[in-house]
Structure formats: C-alpha cells, structure tokens
Amino acid sequence: MNVLSAHRNHPTYWAFVLHRVSGLGLALFLPIHLYVLSMAIDGGARLDAFLDWTAQPMVKMAEVGLVVLLALHMAGGLRLLAVEFLPWRDIQKTLAAVAGAFAFAVGVLYLLNVV
C-alpha cells in the first residue's frame, strides 16, 4: 500500500496514521516497561542499576519521544471520541491540528523539564 498516494494526503488521514503509529509504539513499549518494573520484585538492586543507566542523555531523549507518543495517542483518541459521539462539527482539520499541537506542546514542556 502506498501511504503517500495523493488521495491520502489530507490532514485527517495523517491524524489516522499518527494515531495508529503512536498506538503501535506504545504497544511495543509496554512489555519492556512491565519487564523493568518486574526487576523490583527480586530485591531492587537490578532496578536501581537500570534506573541509573536511564539517566543517560540518549535515554532521556527517547523518554521525550515516548511522552509525545502518549500525548499523540491520547489527543487522537479524544478527537475520535468527539467525532463519533458528539454532534458533528465541520472543523475536522482544526480538531486534528489541535490534537497534533497538544502532543507537540506536551513534548516541548517535557523536554524543557528533563534538560
């Protein structure tokens, strides 16, 4: 399938793609997250060592990406709920843009906090 085909090049299609890709990214992250948490069960020393490792700048940057994925998926999900459960509005492109801007803003705020 050619995602870049001209008929797919409109804002609400890109909103769909971002929602799907962020969901996929979070689904891949979740097992790793649970595995790391499970390290606390056998004493905690391994977990502490791992948490020290996560203080590296590259890992922090990846964390910003993760926060953006979370914000994208949440804003995209709320947008879809609004589309499907609230009365229709003709400002669909604006809604998609607001969802994207929200995720970007959350990412920037998180970046400013971790740096």
């Binding site: 001209a6 769909f16 669909q92």
Partner: protein, 240 residues
C-alpha cells in the same frame, strides 16, 4: 499555462493488467479533464473507453482518478491539476475495471440496496402531504446529505473499502442516514439494522477521505458518525 501549449497525458489502457498510453493534447483555456479525454477519443484514438453524460456536474458518470486523486472530470479544470503540463488519468480505485477508464459500478449500487438505502413509505403518506419542519434537526441532517450524485468518488477514496470488500461504503451509508432522518420513513430501525453489522457504519475509521474528495462538498463521515450514534442508541433501547 498558455493557449498553444501541449499537454502530456498518460491514460490507462486495457484491463487490470493494462498499461499507460501517452497522448499529446493541445491545451486550451478553461479546459476540463473531460475535454482532454474527449479530445483523445475523438481525434487521436476512437477505441478509448470512458463514461460521461451531463458534462455539468449533475449525473455523476465521469469520475476518474486524476494525478492520483478521484475527481469529477467534467468540473475539474486542467489548470487545477496539471503538474508541469502533465496529467495522469486512471480509472477509479476500488471498482472492477471494464476497460480503459470505464469501471463496473454495479457493486457500488448493489451496496445501496444492501444498506436498505431506499425510502419505505407508510400508510399515513396516502392521506396527503407530510408536514416536515425545515428547521427541525432531522430535516437539517437529511438535507446535509441529500445532494449525492452517486459518482463513486467517495468509494474510490476510501481505504476501508479497499481493505474490506464487503464494506457498504460512504455513499450507501450517507443515503441510509438521510432516510433514518426522514420522518416520513416507516422503518427507521430497519435502516439501522442494515448498517449495524461488520460491513456497516462501525467499520469506518473516520479517515475522512470521502469527505475530503466529495465534489458536492458533502460529508459522508458526518453521516456515518450519525449512524454510529443512532445504532448505539438503538442497541441500548433494544431496537436492533
């Protein structure tokens, strides 16, 4: 572009395993894509198959894929879509191809039937005219979707149709929504039942390709979202 220039036009020829044939077509002011295709058939290759009727955006016969997007060719100006004097014209996506630019529309209209997208009269209609308040919510909802010309552009723009060949598609669901909002219709729950299954309104991913491409500026996505809410409410009330 200026008059006197020549357009390079690639047109799909043959069936599914066909090929692009390139034609040189003289550019004219205010020329439409349908003008281009008609020029090719009348002056360059009379074996070219395509479909049109009214030429003024009423009948919905002449839709084709132009530079990757489904469009009504009679009202699409060359100036709007030509890229450096180049135009690529293909048949509509998601339809079985007959030949060249002519597709088989029967599957599209069969789905209108499957969506029970036809009016069900009631006995009360026999006693005179129904009074429908133009300002009522139902009338406004129906009016918003009623101007569909059945061109199939939404169906060609829809990825869900490509993924699930049984999906009823934006046009049939849009028509069903106008009937659900028609206060004269005797079987609103019958319409909802027909569109509540796997291949119905809930299969829509709200990508809004239909809404982005509808030449009449309708929003099938709005109609489908309405059907999603109505079928959900009918389910809770035991109406499905």
């Amino acid at each position: 572009m200026k008059a006197g220039k020549t357009l390079k036009v690639d047109i799909w020829r043959g069936g599914e395993d066909g090929y692009y044939q390139t034609f040189a077509v003289p550019y004219q002011t205010s020329q439409t894509i349908l003008d281009v295709v008609t020029y090719v058939q009348r002056k360059l290759d009379p074996t070219l198959s395509y479909r049109f009727s009214c030429r003024v955006g009423m009948c919905g016969s002449c839709a084709m894929t132009v530079n990757g997007r489904p469009r009504w060719t009679c009202r699409t100006h060359v100036d709007l879509v030509a890229e450096d004097g180049h135009i690529e014209i293909e048949p509509l996506r998601n339809f079985p191809l007959v030949k060249d630019l002519a597709v088989d529309m029967s599957v599209f209209f069969d789905k209108w039937r499957d969506a029970k997208a036809r009016f069900v009269p009631s006995e009360a209609d026999l006693d005179g005219f129904a009074n429908v308040d133009p300002a009522s919510r139902e009338r406004k909802e129906a009016s918003a979707g009623i101007e569909c010309i059945g061109c199939g552009i939404c169906y060609a723009a829809c990825d869900v149709v490509a993924w699930n060949p049984d999906y009823l598609g934006p046009a049939a669901l849009n028509r069903a929504w106008t009937l659900v909002n028609d206060v004269r219709d005797a079987d609103p729950n019958g319409h909802l039942k027909a569109v509540a299954g796997d291949a119905g309104c809930h299969a829509c991913h709200s990508q809004q390709g239909c809404t982005s491409h509808c030449p009449k500026s309708l929003s099938p996505t709005a109609s489908i979202a309405g059907l999603k809410r109505k079928t959900f409410a009918a389910l809770l009330k035991g109406g499905l």
